[in-house]
Symmetry: C2
Subunit: 252 residues, 2 copies
């Protein structure tokens, strides 16, 4: 059992650095906080490199923390490493996923430059719920290990493979595996309810403001749009992804 | 043309008070900020009681601001009344909607205690996009004139009637008008894709954590659920609303 009492401790400084993308990429790790997220991570303990528990917190009885490295810290240290206003006394350093291959995916989501962490996290959660096999992040997409993404994903970041790839390359790989690619577009394409969706599909979701890059829309099998009946100019990117993903599942 | 230079001015204090729900309810007004929201409000100028422009900002040429009360303020005042980090130089005091009647609505959304402002705003935006006639907020729902709700609604707050009502009363009124009520439930009910949706419908969306109150679920025509195929425990409330709303529209 380790115990740290000083905010000046090197480990504490190291944990705090994980709030930056640079440090996360250098170390291939990320920091999660809160009881729910730690509990989700515990479902596959191999992702947890270190559990951090505040001295005022009891580890819930149903958590299996055998073999895990646990460090106990003061309330002050937990506050210092937490990004939320009221921490829940539990945090963990986790390993980023090593999987970077598209392996026999029948259903996928491709992300083109989603910027808002809440949107990306919600899309990851929705894709998980929909039973999608994996998510591919193209250039310009917010870091999936950003704490806001992780929070909005509600732990789904641990349930579904997330890989980074140039989107033209990802589209080509998926097509080689007989996956039909459906782009999403505000102006062009067909009403999503009139398209014939293949059982094996990948949905390509675009940036909040500018949508999917025109270059990628040219590579798809078909581009879909969601009709707008009222005075709203568009749908939120996460909402559009949810409507289309569940529609593409069909009535299975 | 009015001009205010001191942050201590009574009007500035009044505007800042509109960040509280109490003051908004007392005055039946609310404050919006940002070019996009003010532009949306300008589409029906009767809602704008006062336009506030910072001295460094030019009113866009395509804005029709004739007959509007305009107050010019210093950059410092605009910063003081703004809740965002970088204000855009334009704000407005708007009148809350006076409509409190359900009049010949064919399609409605009922909200039971949605707490997160971002979720409520997104649901308002989605309902607007889907061409819904009106939204009814039950007890325990976040104030729709909260600035975060307005921002996530992307201006849809100005496009669709939003009224407050006890949900049992609203359900009864809608049923009297031959509107079928569909509840949403995590556990019970039918797979939404297998339900027969009437052309005139109201969708009842529940609280992020606890869902729709059991008492209201008993009053519906049918309760729907969205199947979860992966390891996520649930869908985000806004996403669930989006999937169901667009599904209920059918292929019109």
């Amino acid at each position: 059992m380790k115990r740290i009492e000083s905010v000046q401790n090197q480990k504490v400084k190291q944990w705090r650095k994980l709030h930056t993308k640079k440090e996360r990429e250098t170390t291939n790790t990320f920091l999660i906080e809160g009881l729910h997220l730690v509990e989700e991570a515990l479902k596959d303990k191999s992702v947890i490199k270190e559990l951090i528990i505040s001295e005022e917190t009891s580890i819930p009885a149903h958590w299996n923390v055998d073999d895990l490295s646990i460090t106990y810290v003061t309330n002050e240290i937990m506050k210092a490493i937490s990004e939320t206003e009221s921490h829940q006394g539990a945090a963990a350093v986790c390993a980023q996923s090593e999987q970077q291959e598209i392996v026999s995916w029948k259903k996928a989501v491709l992300i083109d430059a989603i910027q808002d962490p809440g949107n990306l996290g919600t899309i990851i959660r929705t894709a998980d719920a929909a039973g999608i096999d994996g998510i591919i992040l193209g250039d310009g997409t917010v870091d999936p290990y950003n704490s806001k993404v992780i929070r909005s994903s509600q732990g789904s970041i641990f349930h579904i493979p997330i890989i980074k790839r140039k989107l033209d390359q990802a589209i080509s790989e998926l097509k080689d595996q007989d996956v039909a690619i459906y782009g999403t577009s505000l102006q062009n394409g067909v009403d999503y309810r009139k398209a014939e969706i293949k059982e094996s599909f990948a949905l390509l979701i675009g940036n909040e403001g500018s949508g999917v890059n025109e270059n990628w829309l040219k590579l798809t099998n078909q581009n879909l749009y969601i009709p707008i009946y009222g005075k709203a100019e568009s749908l939120n990117a996460g909402i559009a992804a949810g409507i289309l993903l569940y529609h593409c599942l069909g009535n299975k």
